[in-house]
């Protein structure tokens, strides 16, 4: 007992005293240091833009705007045009976005409206188990598990998705796609047969990769809808889906649109799944089954064996990719900020 009392209550250099000169100077130094690194972050962004921009300038001068409208990429003939790549980037992302947002928003609604726990509660009620301490907690745990599983989709590296796409998706969708081509080939969408890699398999995998982004951000937006609105809708006698489609989703729509825009930005820049699945052909086609190429895949495939002349044009292509993704990302973050401000106002 005595020993514990004898232990000094304050240590040798207590903090509760006026700072010494040395401490004041080191404090100033530390603040300066953090400020320096804060500046460095901004400088880094500027550096990245300038680095790519400056290296692209020489070929911007020689290639001009013909680079963006040209359709041929032939390093031997010194002919460079990236219209097929721009088309492929936008087209594959658009298809992925359609599939990904249908699935993602459905998942977000499923999670935010707690479908699973309601269903499990009902099921447990049938067996008369609703007050049991263990069973009572089960539905919430299932909800959390489902949310984590969806988030796991984002944790799998894209190169693994690419591998999976090659060995699972392509063999899986080839027969139905070729059936569609044989029977409905007059529709431009099914204009070519799927011989292996192509737009659709790449877009499908891309859709899976952007789905967690859409569902996570949309879910946040849906959960942020004030409970009063929900209660009012049910009070008026709305069914669950009348409440969801008439009140909850419209209130959260800006957040959902923002999530889709951010996912679009991510899809535009996604590289590996497309480099492995899209086929690397410089073709502009509306057919879902034809091979294509994207800007990111072009960079990934050509940089490893780039020479002096090539690096310039590749930097130009990188600049175009950066410009597209920057515009989409900035727009998406602005929309999301707006939605956050709006839901705060609604409360």
């Amino acid at each position: 007992m005595a020993t514990t009392l004898e232990r000094p209550i304050v240590d040798a250099r207590p903090i509760s005293r006026p700072p010494t000169k040395r401490e004041i100077y080191s404090d100033r130094g530390f603040r300066l240091l953090t400020g320096l690194f804060a500046w460095a972050t901004v400088a880094l962004l500027v550096f990245i833009v300038l680095e790519i921009g400056a290296k692209a300038v020489p070929s911007m001068k020689t290639e001009g705007l013909g680079f963006i409208t040209g359709k041929v990429w032939d390093a031997n003939a010194q002919q460079y045009g990236i219209l097929p790549q721009i088309w492929g980037t936008l087209y594959s992302s658009a298809i992925a976005l359609v599939i990904g947002s249908i699935l993602g928003v459905a998942v977000a609604v499923f999670l935010s409206e707690r479908f699973l726990s309601t269903a499990v509660f009902k099921l447990l009620k049938v067996f008369g188990k609703q007050f049991h301490p263990f069973w009572g907690k089960l539905p919430d745990q299932l909800d959390a598990l489902l949310k984590n599983l969806i988030e796991l989709l984002a944790a799998i590296p894209s190169v693994v998705y690419g591998l999976w796409g090659i060995f699972v998706i392509i063999p899986l969708i080839r027969p139905p796609c070729n059936w569609l081509h044989d029977h409905l080939g007059w529709i431009p969408l099914f204009g070519t047969s799927l011989s292996g890699p192509g737009m659709l398999p790449a877009s499908l995998v891309l859709a899976i990769m952007i789905l967690p982004t859409i569902s996570a951000i949309s879910r946040d937006a849906l959960v942020a809808v004030p409970p009063k609105l929900r209660e009012a809708a049910y009070g008026l006698g709305a069914t669950r889906w009348e409440a969801i489609l008439g009140v909850i989703v419209p209130t959260a729509q800006i957040g959902i649109i923002g999530s889709i825009l951010l996912a679009f930005g991510r899809a535009l820049g996604e590289t590996m799944a497309l480099a492995m699945l899209v086929g690397n052909a410089n073709v502009i086609s509306v057919s879902l089954f034809s091979p294509g190429n994207t800007l990111a895949a072009l960079l990934a495939n050509n940089f490893p064996e780039a020479n002096k002349a090539n690096v310039g044009v590749l930097m130009y292509a990188a600049l175009v990719l950066m410009a597209i993704t920057l515009v989409v990302n900035i727009f998406g973050s602005l929309v999301l900020q707006h939605s956050a401000a709006r839901t705060r106002g609604a409360r």
């Binding site: 903090i15 509760s16 700072p19 401490e23 404090d27 530390f30 240091l33 400020g35 690194f37 804060a38 460095a40 972050t41 901004v42 880094l44 962004l45 990245i48 790519i52 290296k55 459905a106 998942v107 609604v109 499923f110 479908f115 489902l146 969806i150 796991l152 989709l153 944790a155 799998i156 590296p157 894209s158 190169v159 693994v160 690419g162 591998l163 999976w164 699972v168 899976i208 569902s215 069914t239 889906w241 930005g265 991510r266 820049g269 590289t271 480099a275 492995m276 990111a296 960079l299 990934a300 940089f303 490893p304 690096v311 590749l314 990188a318 990719l321 950066m322 993704t325 990302n329 973050s333």
Partner: protein
């Protein structure tokens, strides 16, 4: 009860009311279009959710089925095999991935934490802070392949060759925004009273931050770092043309090997996935299994840290 209603509103009205109630809106029947619609939409949403989960199970199933049988001890200790040659492994790729992620973390973690300290404590409302947050957000939305392009321009062209250092720089560019944003959140989560107590005792900003705030926020910061590391370990695109690939150990002739091309798991998967040889395809699946287990393990460690902070 019935009689009082009848007395109050008259018999005709009462019958009409009763009819209305019995047929009515309050009744839930699947024969009514609106209930039917609701039921159908429940079904559609539930099935879409499970369709969304199908790829996860399919990927895991394929990794287990095709990856496990190619897994052995040799896989971790030996170099990649030639085409159609039995055995071999990708020990050098595992080592390369770990080395490059370590290089990336050693650059981006101190940088990110110091910038986050500025954002959370030193000048949270300044114009610079707004710029920094904006830059970090833009950087986090950057395509990963562009990080590779930058590292290629800044390191590969400058030093004249592909190297683990260039790969590390590319990965650190990808890790930095995650570290900054999560570390700022973690520092902000520290209860204001703790900070006020320190300041009340006369501590300088530096003492408050280094002795009180950073240790308290450490689990949260580490969670962010873990997330960033997990993401960096799985990145392929920026490594394709910064670290390239190599069939040799990163340390076989001392650390100097790091300034030459270096193998990584992700690039190995990419290279071997397009190969026509079965043994290389098997290697790609085994490497995928190892990579996914590695990434998930780092993720889980990070999440368990953040849970402890809440509890």
């Amino acid at each position: 009860m019935e009689e009082t209603i009848v007395r109050q509103i008259g018999r005709d009205d009462a019958t009409r009311l009763a009819a209305l109630i019995s047929t009515a809106e309050l009744q839930k029947s699947l024969r009514r279009p609106r209930s039917l619609f609701s039921f159908a939409m429940n079904f559609v949403t539930a099935s879409l959710t499970f369709i969304a989960l199908a790829p996860l199970f399919s990927v895991v199933y394929m990794l287990v089925v095709r990856g496990v049988h190619a897994l052995s001890l040799a896989v971790f200790t030996s170099l990649p095999p030639d085409a159609n040659e039995a055995g071999g492994g990708f020990g050098n790729a595992i080592a390369g991935t770990l080395v490059m992620v370590a290089i990336a973390a050693s650059m981006s973690v101190p940088f990110g934490i110091l910038a986050a300290v500025y954002l959370a404590e030193v000048g949270p409302e300044t114009k610079l802070a707004k710029f920094v947050r904006f830059s970090a957000k833009i950087l986090s939305g950057f395509p990963s392949v562009l990080a590779g392009v930058v590292a290629y321009g800044a390191v590969v062209l400058l030093t004249g060759g592909f190297s683990a250092w260039a790969g590390g720089v590319a990965l650190s560019l990808l890790m930095l925004p995650t570290v900054i944003l999560t570390a700022e959140d973690a520092i902000r989560m520290v209860h204001p009273r703790i900070r006020e107590a320190a300041i009340g005792m006369g501590a300088t900003t530096t003492q408050t931050i280094c002795r009180i705030l950073l240790p308290t926020a450490m689990p949260g910061i580490l969670t962010g770092v873990m997330l960033a590391v997990a993401r960096a370990a799985g990145e392929t695109a920026p490594l394709l043309f910064t670290a390239l690939f190599s069939n040799y150990w990163p340390f076989s002739r001392g650390a100097s090997q790091l300034s030459g091309p270096t193998a990584s798991l992700a690039v190995l998967i990419y290279n071997f996935s397009g190969s026509p040889f079965d043994n290389l395809k098997d290697m790609a699946w085994a490497a995928s299994l190892v990579l996914v287990v590695l990434v998930l393990a780092i993720n889980l460690i990070g999440q368990s840290l953040s849970r402890r902070r809440v509890g």
